[in-house]
Amino acid sequence: MSEELENKEIIARWLSGELSDKEKDALTQRDDLNDLKAVLDDVSTWSLPPVDTAEGLKRLRAKTATAKPETKVISMRPLLRYAAAIALLATVWFVFDYTQKNGMVDLETGLAETIQHELPNGSVITLGAVSNASYDKGNWEEDRLIDLVGQAFFDVESGTKFTVNTAFGDVTVLGTQFDVQTVNGALKVNCFEGSVAVSSENGREVLKPGEGLIFDKGTFERVDFRNTTPSWTGGTSVYEGTELEDVLNDLKRYYKVQLTLPADQSSTNFTGSFPHGDLAQALRSIFSPLEIQYTLSADGTVVFN
């Protein structure tokens, strides 16, 4: 009898009043739910001690009053890092721009590299590792089109509009911050501010802040997230229920590492993150929660035991 109630979560929906008429009829035949209902109604009247939030907030303020300036100092550091990266790359582009006859700007990153570049309209593109982005500078006012392979984060000046063209579909900006990724054969777009339209053969979807889209093998999947900037621009990659194989493909974009996933792990999913600056730590972050044994040799080969 109980299995039947647990099946399809009937008993949970019975409680929340979301059963279909047919399911309801089946349940009225039985009288063993009355006692449960009486107990549940009683439990609903139970409570926990109240909280003085005015007092709690005062204590919190006393604590954070000194902590706040410190966090401000920390938050400047990534900016300095970017400034250094831009200074280094600016010289390269300088030469680049004068040698390009047709005004094509080609940005390319290698392993473990991230670069930031300002587009002609004042918007900023942050290109992730092993990615390529290009656009026609001379024609920018007309097309406002960027070709992208790999991963990039766009912080777009308001009032400007452009399209990111990928092999899997187009992403049109409506004034915003967003993240585009074409890694592991799928297109992933996350919207952090404003709104973003994604169009492909299968149709058009508009994303609002905190919404993302995964376009894989012809199907759309909408996802939700909570952070205001993509984690990878801050030096970590974060996953939620992602196939381990895809996670390892990403790992290979950030580290010179050789590894082949054992066949028995092909359907394993990974939830967690790995840092971009420390291979030993990154391997530990991925494999120890999954209880997968491995050894890392000096030449960067990972062997599974």
């Binding site: 647990e6 006692d35 909280v51 907030l57 919190l60 902590a67 938050s75 997230f225």
Partner: protein, 170 residues
């Protein structure tokens, strides 16, 4: 100007609105009210420190995730024993077919059954019963699907129902 978690009045309103719910959620996991309050407070401190990185609409999800990690960092106590404040027992009335279900002894047994539920089922059950959250709201808080919440709830309810029958037959 767009509303941001970093604005003091916005943050304060969030604290007043969500602190108790968060404290309750941690209590369902650890069974220690003082520890639950500490973890909830620490979660809100993290929210303030990260205020620029958290989207306003996703604040509840953020603080619940942080609280869960803090709980996991601290030693996860093996057995919890939850205690709730209950209204006075109604006048015993033998006409009431359910009066046996509302005796003090019976209520303590139910409390123990709830405490013994696996953590995932227990928190979903109590967030729904005590804090009156819908399955959809719980799913958003915990960052899981609504079906996952309904599965946990169904398991908790079936277990509770079976134990009620046992108690009645003793």
């Amino acid at each position: 100007m767009q509303e941001s978690v970093c604005q003091e009045d916005v943050y304060n309103a969030l604290y007043h609105k969500h602190f108790k719910g968060l404290r309750n959620y941690v209590y369902y996991k650890c069974g220690d009210l003082a520890q639950a309050e500490d973890i909830a407070q620490e979660s809100f401190i993290r929210l303030w420190q990260k205020c620029a990185d958290v989207i306003l609409e996703k604040v509840t999800g953020f603080v619940h995730t942080v609280a869960n990690r803090l709980f996991l960092d601290q030693v996860r106590s093996k057995k919890v024993s939850l205690r709730f404040e209950k209204d006075q027992l109604p006048q015993q009335n033998s006409e009431d077919p359910y009066y046996i279900l509302r005796t003090e002894e019976f209520r303590e047994r139910i409390e123990a059954v709830i405490s013994d539920l696996p953590e995932g089922q227990r928190e979903v059950f109590l967030l729904n019963r005590i804090d009156k959250h819908t399955y959809k709201e719980i799913a958003e808080m915990l960052g899981v699907s609504q079906t996952a919440v309904e599965k946990r709830m169904a398991k908790a309810l079936v277990k509770l129902k079976d134990r009620i029958e046992e108690f009645k037959n003793i």
